[in-house]
């Protein structure tokens, strides 16, 4: 299939926002999405971006049923591992259903790996839901390993009221 992978721009935020919602629906949690197109524009395309993005695009004649040419994306940022140093974290990886099975997801992930290596990173980290068998299989085939299984690492979160209480020094 004919497609290109390129860096996301401010103008892509509308489609990125659309696809974030599609991915959230796939993960059965679309009511969790609070981020808007405007937040993405501010947080990803101002002087100190909190994330970077890449887009998979198809030519006009291959556009989706609903007329979209931007049909996949990945959001990532740079992080730090105190044992190995610079690392890249892939936050989202998504290809619209009708464009899957054509190597686009792999191409997006390859691009993130290249960008990470170019920035001096030695690791690519990301999270996957344990029931997402097709994604788990895809990642294991690329040479990834499950840190949660092998090292027993659990992802933890402190948010909302709990975070506020903690900031005020309350237990």
């Amino acid at each position: 299939m004919d497609f290109t992978i390129r860096a996301a721009t401010f103008e892509d935020c509308k489609d990125i926002s659309r696809m974030i919602l599609e991915l959230a629906e796939f993960e059965k949690v679309s009511d969790h999405v609070k981020i808007t197109q405007r937040d993405l524009e501010q947080d990803g395309f101002s002087k100190n971006p909190f994330f970077h993005g890449i887009i998979a695009e198809v030519p006009e004649h291959l556009k989706s049923r609903e007329g979209h040419t931007k049909i996949g994306y990945s959001l990532y940022f740079y992080m730090y591992n105190t044992w190995k140093g610079r690392a890249v974290y892939m936050v989202d990886l998504y290809v619209m259903a009708e464009f899957r099975g054509k190597g686009i997801g792999k191409a997006l992930m390859t691009k993130v790996s290249q960008l990470g290596l170019a920035a001096g990173c030695t690791q690519l980290n990301f999270t996957v839901l344990d029931w997402n068998k097709s994604s788990l299989d895809f990642y294991l085939k690329q040479g990834c390993w499950d840190v949660t299984s092998e090292l027993g690492y659990h992802c933890m979160r402190c948010e909302g009221e709990a975070l506020q209480h903690l900031a005020q020094g309350e237990l």
């Binding site: 993405l40 044992w83 190995k84 790996s113 690791q123 992802c155 903690l166 020094g169």
Partner: protein, 171 residues
């Protein structure tokens, strides 16, 4: 109660930060995994585009319990992004030397970090804990943290440099 001071790390703290990183790795039985050097920490934390931020806890000479060490705790963090809820504070490492535990230093560090998260309009603080580390898990759960791996099925995945290189070299 130990008298301590919590402050932003400076380049001169790098040797102590590396010492504490190695002590924490030893506590997690992974000390041979630490490949990072003082040079990496200096470049990556105090250059033009820092990959991480760090706070240290230090004690004055008359309160030192371990001779020669005034920096007795640290926390390393950075800002990350969740496409559903926006900016997050990610706590990468958090450690207080054994001799200084039980004095509220850890709680004070966590309070400072939560405060930093709230001030920077982060909706959540994320971090990873090994499931075998019961003391730490209890410490965090008492402060309102939830275990995303258990509750939502998130598994942390990783690709190491060798496989990153393989992937990035593929057409």
């Amino acid at each position: 109660m130990a008298n301590f001071n919590l402050r932003k790390a400076e380049p001169k703290d790098v040797p102590d930060i590396l010492r504490l990183i190695k002590e924490l790795a030893k506590y997690e039985e992974m000390e041979d995994q630490v490949l990072i050097t003082e040079k990496d920490l200096l470049e990556d934390g105090f250059g033009e585009h820092p990959f991480y931020h760090c706070v240290v806890a230090d004690v004055s000479a008359e309160h030192q319990k371990v001779e020669g060490y005034s920096v007795i705790g640290f926390a390393m963090y950075y800002f990350t992004y969740d496409p559903w809820i926006g900016k997050l504070l990610y706590l990468e490492d958090f450690y207080v030397m054994k001799e200084y535990r039980g004095f509220g230093i850890g709680s004070e560090i966590l309070k400072h970090l939560s405060d930093t998260a709230v001030k920077n309009r982060c909706s959540s603080m994320h971090f990873i804990v090994a499931e075998s580390n019961k003391t730490s898990i209890d410490f965090y759960k008492r402060r309102g943290a939830s275990d995303l791996s258990l509750q939502e099925g998130w598994r942390l995945f990783r690709i190491d440099k060798e496989n990153l290189l393989k992937m990035s070299a593929e057409e």
